[in-house]
Symmetry: C2
């Protein structure tokens, strides 16, 4: 089929790991990524870009140095560039990230939870 | 509340018109827009940008000169820049558009269905 939609539910069947975003679409120089969150991520920031979290299933919390936000299915949130944040989710949460191609999940922090930024599914 | 999520269902309660995207969030120089489709739009293209359609409720079809795609809730589709397309929806369809700020709904075509590109809700 020359023109086919991208079915998010099918994409989420293709991986099980947490905190490792997978690219499902590109728009100009941006990537749309499917990701599963569970547990605690690391404090980090992205100095050159905003980052959009769109929750599709479950809920997650993003902590900031001066507050936090809980995002549930059907809600989105824009983390402004340069703002330190720490995502977490008690139960598995499925989300879509929208951000420039090449954005590293751990931003400035690096470390063990850093994922490959160029895995397509 | 310093940090608040953007609740898509609430945004869709705030307008009734079709084919007139409303901005709900910005990320860098991109806009996320809520839009309701029903009926037929006009053939047009966007020469400088891709355009993402993410269907949240219902279904829509995008016709191309050499085919078409039907997109249902939970699916997204990227219309490549420069490609002529004509969206339509038999019944009301709710979607989110993601595209650069300032993108005009009718692209190169203009005409009566051209909407203000800077309406926030």
């Amino acid at each position: 089929m020359k023109y086919a939609p991208i079915r998010l539910k099918e994409k989420f069947l293709k991986f099980d790991d947490h905190w490792a975003p997978k690219i499902i679409a590109s728009m100009n120089d941006y990537h749309f990524k499917a990701v599963k969150f569970q547990g605690e991520f690391v404090w980090h920031k992205h100095d050159t870009t905003d980052e959009v979290f769109f929750v599709l299933d479950g809920e997650m919390t993003i902590a900031f140095r001066d507050g936090s936000v809980t995002i549930v299915a059907g809600e989105l949130f824009v983390v402004p560039k340069g703002v330190e944040h720490k995502p977490s989710a008690d139960l598995e949460c499925r989300a879509m990230l929208i951000e420039p191609a090449g954005t590293i999940n751990t931003g400035n922090a690096g470390g063990e939870m850093t994922a490959d930024d160029n895995v397509w599914i």
